[in-house]
Symmetry: C2
Subunit: 224 residues, 2 copies
DNA sequence: ACTACGGTTGAATCCTGAA
DNA sequence: GTTCAGGATTCAACCGTAG
């Protein structure tokens, strides 16, 4: 059985195949519910699946709570636009919202150029099921990390950022779940840190890209 | 008539004396609804009035909306603990939530030392009534500013931070409202920037302290 | 190690014009 | 009138390179 499992398909279906309380850590970047299509690039990226509404969110959070072991952590990215919905639904599902972390990016986004402040952060819900201590020294809830990304994955999360979260909340050999792995940053972080990984991605093209990216890392790892 | 008016009493009552659409800008730091009593200091500070629940929030936001001129801005501090309530009630009152700013402090707070990330920011709701452009160059929605404060006012907001918000969203001579002026930072910022100010504080001791602080600034200003 | 400088980028929103 | 789709737009911060 592979330690890094990338599965193509809908997490809403595929989660049913995962046993209750079998996951040590959740790190995921779900659709924000913003119908986001970047307009900055000449070639527009494809819309993000399930990004047009958040009707799936309540059941999804409940499923995450079911899958996670007791005394474990979950990190869920979101934006301030829907922070109220994410916060309320995470609580409804049984999670304790322990903190809201700030991913403070290197450069700002666009938006209303004259009537608004420039967006330069994203939020990360830090959720707990039971009580678990964080590894290592105490960190701030404002985390500075340069953005990565490309035309195919404008919402890609930096591997170093994901690695930080994984190291704070899991040990080697632990099983990490990411229902929306997108560009595959979490899989790569898990590979780098010797965590087991199971992830889902419904978009075929994104799945293939991430698969290539991960396979390249895995093959490099084997070489040394 | 004084340009800087500090009024002792409940804003819920005293707002009734203010005419509709007579305020150019709102900058305020209401009770966060956390029943916050600091354990850090030897002399525990007195509980914050109206901090045991947020039942007053819907009507308060509606009143703020009534008082504010069209095409104007409001800045309301809050913490992530109740961001959902603040966000929803601000919208219900008619405001557009244009952004959520991050006040990124220089040093972190306490809290759960082993099971949590250290709190190092506070949130500021950036609300609009109608459309108004920001003055000056485009700023990030993450604002770095060192924390100030003392034993009497553990939640004191830095004058430079308040001045930044006031300068972005108002002109000289404009009238700024702060229903919960606490340590009086907003009054001082207004004095420094030649804005008119009207503010309320229900706690007698805090009112007196702020009054002294402001009178000292005003008397210094007159000397030169 | 430090400074200077050019190149690149951005989970967006507004406005316009067509339907 | 109203909705909707598509195009145009900021500049500050950061990075990499060179001196």
């Amino acid at each position: 059985m592979d330690n890094i499992q990338l599965i193509k398909g809908s997490c809403f279906e595929l989660n049913k195949e995962i046993a209750d309380e079998s996951i040590d850590l959740i790190v995921t970047d779900p659709p924000y519910g913003m119908s986001f299509v970047s307009n900055i690039r000449k070639i527009k990226h494809r819309p993000i699946a399930n990004d047009d509404n958040l009707l799936w969110l309540p059941e999804w959070f409940k499923d995450q709570f079911r899958l996670l072991k007791d005394n474990s952590h979950a990190y869920v990215f979101c934006s301030w636009h829907n922070i109220d919905v994410f916060k309320i639904q995470a609580s409804n599902a049984g999670f304790q919202l322990k903190n809201i972390l700030i991913w403070f990016k290197n450069n700002a986004g666009q938006g209303d150029l004259f009537g608004d402040y420039a967006p330069q952060y994203e939020l990360i819900l830090f959720l707990t099921k039971g009580r678990k201590l964080l590894n290592g020294k105490r960190l701030s809830n404002v985390i500075r990390c340069p953005k990565t990304g490309n035309e195919n994955h404008p919402t890609e999360k930096p591997v170093p950022l994901i690695q930080l979260l994984i190291e704070k909340s899991s040990l080697q050999g632990d099983l990490v779940l990411d229902n929306f792995f997108g560009s595959g940053s979490c899989a790569i972080a898990c590979s780098n840190l010797n965590r087991r990984f199971i992830g889902h991605e419904i978009d075929e093209e994104r799945f293939n890209d991430a698969n290539k990216r991960v396979q390249m890392i895995l093959s490099q790892t084997k070489l040394f």
